[in-house]
Each structure stands twice: as structure tokens, then as C-alpha cells.
Symmetry: C2
Subunit: 119 residues, 2 copies
DNA sequence: TAACTGTATTAACTCAATTAGTACAGTTGC
DNA sequence: GCAACTGTACTAATTGAGTTAATACAGTTA
């Protein structure tokens, strides 16, 4: 279900978060679907349950999933996941715009880059 | 000359790099100017010289400064610093565009956000 | 009741970041 | 020449976030 890239030196819980977020946003994990339990995923990835728990806790704080003690963790309903992601990305875009402006590049010029430099 | 924010948990050498890069890009440190020596800056910030050396080494690899054994470290001439920064920022923008596209937001829509959502 | 859930807590382990100490070669001014 | 600077390189010790490990407790479900 999830693959962990060991050539990437980022923390494991970050990689687990990224993988799950991608699965959710791509629709591979539809709204309301139950995620593997903390223990299941830990065994599946040969990772400590505490590390998975941390990933789940942060995904819940960010609005991607909802965890219910005794029942399980579920993909957030009502477009919560996409809304959470859009908020994150807009924040990133705003921060990047500030960095560009520090080098004298306006938002309009950034917009031009986006349209012209299609790789 | 440089202030280090201790409420920021990023590595010290990263903070030193960011501070110097900002001083260079803002023009506070003009092209060709000599930076404080590794040992000077280490004493000034109460940081180990090796940590400063790492920041300088990476700034040189990225094209912001030029280090000459025996003489010192100098702000890169010929617009090297700005060129280096622009390359980094364009790379960031491209990566962010890919993230937006994964959520179904096109580059054109990103461009619109930049023009409209002026904070 | 048994076997699942999420959650919490404490202690040990790992490894990158950092510190510390030392050394060497090139530059500069006396 | 030489003293006092430079950048650079290397090894060893220390620190702290990330991770593992083990255990416990309360809610859910068949």
C-alpha cells in the first residue's frame, strides 16, 4: 500500500505522511474509507507503531483524516483533505512570492514565469 | 552583523547561510566585499568555527561567495549571487507547480492566485 | 468476553548536527 | 624571514531529534 524510500533522509513519519496524503488526494483512498490501523501499518512497513501514530496524529491535526478511539482512522469527509492541502499550498505560494520579491521579482513576473516556462 | 534566532530549530549553519544570503541579495554586502573571516564570525556569534566553515563552503558551492585560501571570502562578482538565487527560486516554483497540479490546479490558475490574492 | 481500535507514557538507542582541538598551506605587512 | 592573519582538513567527543521498545488504559465490536 505504501512504499518508503530509504534513499531519502527525511524523518520516516514525514514520508509516511506524504505517502498517505498522496493516496488521499489522488482518490486512491476515498473519503470515509478506513486507513490501516496504527499497528497494522507498523507491521506492514516494519516501522515502530509510535512513528505511525505520530504521522496519523499530524495528519489529523492538518485535517486530512479523523481518528476515533476504538474504531479506527478514516479519510476526512466533506472535502476536508483537499481543503487542507489547498491551504498548505497557498501558504507555500505566498512564502515563495515573498522570497521572489526580496530579489526584486514581482508577483506578476512570477505569474509570467508560470505561463511561459512550461517544462 | 548577523542575528541568530534560537526559537528556530533548523541547523545553525542553515540560519547562518540564510542570513548571509539575505545580506548579499539586499545589497548590504556589495559584490567583491570581504566577509568576516571564519574565525571572526565564529567568535562574534559564539558558534564553532567548523559550523561557520560549513555555511561558507555551501554558499560557495551555490555561487553566492568565493573563498580564497589565505585571503578571505568575498561576495561573488558579476551578479553571481542573484543568478544563484534566481535558479533556486525557479526550481522551488517549478516544484510547487507540480504539487498544485497534483491537486488539479493548473499553472494558469496559480498565476491567477498570484495576481488576485495580494495579501 | 476476546480481540480489536486509538492514545499515552517512559526509557533506551541512533545518528546527524555541533563542538572541540589540532594541523597545514597560502597571503600579507613588517 | 617571520609573525599574524587567511581558508581548509581531519579526528574525537558531545548533544538532541528521531526512532525504537515495552507497556498500559479506555472505547468499540462481534
Amino acid at each position: 500500500m505504501i512504499q518508503i524510500n530509504y534513499h531519502d533522509s527525511r524523518p520516516i513519519y514525514e514520508k509516511v505522511k506524504d505517502s498517505l496524503r498522496q493516496l488521499i488526494l489522488s482518490g486512491a483512498l476515498p473519503e470515509g474509507d478506513r486507513l490501516p490501523s496504527v499497528r497494522e501499518l507498523a507491521v506492514s512497513l516494519t516501522i515502530n507503531p509510535n512513528t505511525i501514530q505520530r504521522a496519523y496524529r499530524e495528519l489529523e491535526q492538518e485535517g486530512y483524516i479523523v481518528s476515533v478511539p476504538g474504531k479506527g482512522s478514516f479519510v476526512a469527509r466533506g472535502g476536508g483533505a483537499r481543503a487542507a492541502r489547498m491551504a498548505e499550498l497557498k501558504e507555500k505560494l505566498s512564502a515563495l512570492a515573498a522570497e521572489f520579491e526580496a530579489v526584486g521579482v514581482s508577483r506578476a513576473e512570477m505569474a509570467d514565469m508560470l505561463k511561459e516556462e512550461k517544462p
